[in-house]
């Protein structure tokens, strides 16, 4: 009980990073997200859990407007990051995505060298003054991706040649290199083995120092391990949102309880 109070008071000091109100998403005729409102805190890991097809990935993709790349997808409602409406006309989705990085379900390194994979974002956004600068950015990103020691001797070999877990950490390093403020992770461990998963989870915990991390996961254990806040999605609705410990021990909604005890899925 004491721990929880300390945690809550700690949480109370952190600012709201993302604030979504009445978000609706339609995929053509399919009503995918219904009335989702959520406040996501800075320097916190927020987990989205829920059964397949419940809309958690769709909602995640709203946060950096990746859904714009799908023609039939329509988003309404307001999503504000740092009190700026990201669906405002004046906001360039390309700029937004530099600020809100994303790591995907399947590791997707570009068919380039490890170095070029990480340098991709900084080069596009002109973050480096010169080659030495870029080298520093790449090194620090790879260090923060907890993969530097494994790849420092072969930065010029192709990123596709790494193992699955290394590829995913490379993708995280690649996302970190553009210095985003929010990091979105769409089931980042679902294609990885338990050891690689543990490494990535450890990494997520470290990344919390600098970013607001939002992670979609199918594994409730993973949500319990890495996140401070958890949101439960069901059939396009956000059913419950709160402290991770509270969601997993004393869920308020019967649907949440059914899900975490394995009765619906």
């Amino acid at each position: 009980m004491n721990d929880k109070n300390i945690m809550e008071s700690h949480m109370g000091t952190t600012a709201i990073k993302i604030s979504a109100r009445d978000v609706q998403v339609y995929y053509g005729d399919n009503y995918a997200i219904k009335d989702v409102s959520i406040d996501i805190e800075d320097k916190t890991v927020t987990a989205f859990i829920g059964p397949s097809g419940c809309g958690k990935s769709t909602f995640l993709r709203c946060l950096n407007r990746m859904n714009d790349t799908i023609d039939i997808c329509k988003v309404t409602g307001s999503i504000r990051i740092d009190d700026e409406d990201i669906y405002d006309r004046r906001v360039d989705p390309v700029q937004l995505r530099a600020k809100v990085g994303m790591v995907f379900q399947k590791p997707n390194p570009f068919p380039k060298s490890i170095y070029d994979n990480v340098a991709y974002g900084p080069r596009i956004h002109g973050l480096a003054q010169n080659k030495a600068d870029l080298d520093d950015i790449v090194e620090s990103a790879l260090r923060r991706g907890a993969i530097w020691n494994e790849v420092k001797d072969r930065l010029q070999s192709p990123g596709t040649g790494l193992s699955g877990g290394q590829q995913q950490r490379l993708c995280i390093a690649r996302a970190v290199a553009t210095e985003p403020e929010v990091l979105l992770m769409d089931e980042p461990c679902s294609a990885l083995d338990p050891i690689a998963t543990a490494q990535v989870e450890e990494l997520i915990d470290e990344l919390r120092q600098s970013f607001s991390v939002v992670i979609v996961t199918h594994s409730m254990q993973q949500a319990a391990r890495v996140s401070q806040k958890t949101a439960f999605f069901h059939l396009g609705n956000m059913v419950e949102y709160g402290e991770t410990g509270q969601i997993f021990t004393t869920p308020q909604d019967p649907r949440t309880e059914s899900y975490i005890t394995g009765r619906i899925g």
């Binding site: 990746m66 990085g101 994303m102 553009t178």
Partner: protein, 493 residues
């Protein structure tokens, strides 16, 4: 009706009969219960039809190919050498023999003479030439007794051959029929046997294509060897000029033609690669599904236009338009005198480039679509624009495949004929001026082989050497292209 067609009909009837008998027998051995059969009744029937018809028809086919050759060889050996006139060949005499023999068969079938009457014919008493002309078989000269004798011989042997053919093939069909109908019992694995038959058919089709290629190469190779016996290979490969004449001292070098071919192909690729590639980028990366569904087939219609139509387009539209721009002096658009005729390297190259656009765009489009969406998402997720994503992720990933597509297009350009026949001109020379007429390997092959040609002179045989060189060239390009494309395909698996 000839013996052969009667035989074929008989075999087919027997096969049909076998089909029904076998399926009926299979059901009856299962006591009328289809579920006790190993295979569906249709398989027992097909199996019987297969074993009745295929061996018999196969042997028949081989027989029909082999018999005339054997008979001809036998008859040829009986023709005395003195029968061959000066400047003629044994082949011409043999074709006379064949015509007399066929003519006599027609005489019988029309009822002018009986079988035994034709066998008693004599050149002394009957004007055979007139007799045959009466039934529509024209013979070049009066029939000599030796030719008549050879023709009678030919007829006799053909007749014996046909008799044997029936005697061998009819029992073969009957044996196949009997065995397969008897085998049609409930436990017989008819389905597996029929499927093995289908497999054999597939293997046959595949090997036919390969064997044809090998056959083409060999026929070209033998004619090319004949050519190199008559003409020094050093002149062909390293000479500097192409000037065939029929007095016998021709310069037959491939190099000026190769230069024209390559020059025109390069211009074609300069046109086709950027346009095709940009079209592919638009279609695969930017166009919405509606535009794509409409534009892609439209672009591919270009690929369906016959090349002779492109040739006409070159000759009648593009060539004169270029002359208007670069030629005609004061009357022209630029006041230049650079271009005198409509046929030029540029004309052919431009039109060939247009022809290749759908080729490049369609292949590149497929290749870019094969780049996984996850790579695009990854790049967009890092804040790259769609254009940056295409330039830095999609194109590099698709590059090997695109190179393969360009090489395939190049090999088509090198082998293209009709556009250059009409658009490029006929002058073989080394020149860097794209407004001059030049000629290519393919157009020279056409011109060396059309018209009244003698297949023993180097001027004609050079066409085969040219063709073989072209074949090796395009084959090499295709192999490289396919190798690159295949290597790339494995990357995402």
């Amino acid at each position: 009706m000839s013996t052969t067609s009667l035989l074929v009909i008989a075999i087919l009837i027997l096969a049909t009969l076998g089909y029904f008998l076998a399926s009926k027998r299979a059901i009856s051995t299962a006591g009328g219960d289809r579920r006790k059969l190993h295979s569906l009744p249709v398989y027992y029937g097909s199996n019987a039809a297969m074993f009745t018809a295929i061996p018999a028809l196969g042997v028949l086919l081989i027989w029909l190919l082999a018999q005339p050759m054997l008979v001809e060889r036998n008859v040829l050996s009986t023709i005395p050498d003195k029968l061959i006139p000066e400047g003629s060949s044994i082949g011409l005499v043999m074709s006379d023999v064949r015509r007399v023999a066929d003519g006599l068969e027609v005489v019988i079938s029309l009822g002018t003479m009986s079988q035994s009457e034709t066998l008693r014919l004599d050149t002394e008493q009957t004007d055979i030439r007139a007799l045959l002309a009466g039934v529509g078989a024209a013979i070049g000269s009066d029939v000599q007794p030796e030719v008549l004798e050879a023709a009678q011989n030919y007829r006799a042997q053909t007749k014996t051959g046909q008799l044997w053919m029936v005697l061998i093939i009819a029992p073969l069909a009957l044996i196949g029929f009997a065995l397969s109908v008897l085998a049609a019992k409930a436990t017989f694995r008819a389905r597996n046997t029929v499927e093995r038959g289908i497999l054999a058919l597939l293997v046959l089709a595949a090997s036919l294509a390969i064997l044809t290629t090998i056959g083409i190469v060999f026929s070209m190779l033998f004619e090319s060897i004949n050519f190199f016996k008559l003409h020094p290979w050093t002149d062909f490969f390293f000479g500097g000029s192409w000037a065939p004449n029929f007095r016998g001292d021709s310069d037959l070098s491939i190099l000026p033609l190769l230069w024209g071919t390559i020059y025109i192909s390069i211009i074609a690729l300069i046109v086709a690669v950027p346009v095709g590639l940009f079209a592919a980028i638009y279609l695969s990366e930017y166009a919405g599904p509606r535009v794509r569904a409409f534009a892609k087939p439209l672009l591919e219609i270009l690929a369906g236009i016959p090349t002779i139509v492109y040739g006409l387009f070159a000759l009648l539209t593009v060539g004169p338009a270029l002359v208007r721009v670069f030629g005609r002096g004061e009357e022209g658009l630029l006041g230049l005198e650079w271009m005198s005729g409509a046929t030029a390297v540029l004309t052919a190259g431009l039109v060939m480039g247009i022809m290749l656009i759908p080729f490049v765009s369609s292949l590149s489009d497929d290749i870019m679509n094969a780049v996984p969406q996850s790579l695009r998402d990854g790049s967009l997720g890092l804040g790259a624009t769609p254009s940056e994503t295409i330039r830095q992720v999609v194109l590099p990933a698709a590059l090997p495949g695109i190179v393969g597509a360009v090489l395939l297009a190049a090999s088509r350009a090198i082998g293209e004929t009709m556009i250059v026949v009409l658009g490029a001109g006929a002058i073989a020379k080394f020149s860097a001026n794209p407004l001059e007429a030049m000629t290519t390997i393919t157009t020279r092959i056409v011109s060396q082989l059309t018209g009244d040609t003698d297949f023993a002179s180097p001027e004609t045989l050079v066409a085969f050497a040219l063709g073989l060189t072209l074949f090796v060239l395009t084959l090499g390009l295709n192999v490289i292209a396919l190798y690159i494309v295949r290597k790339y395909r494995e990357q995402y698996d």
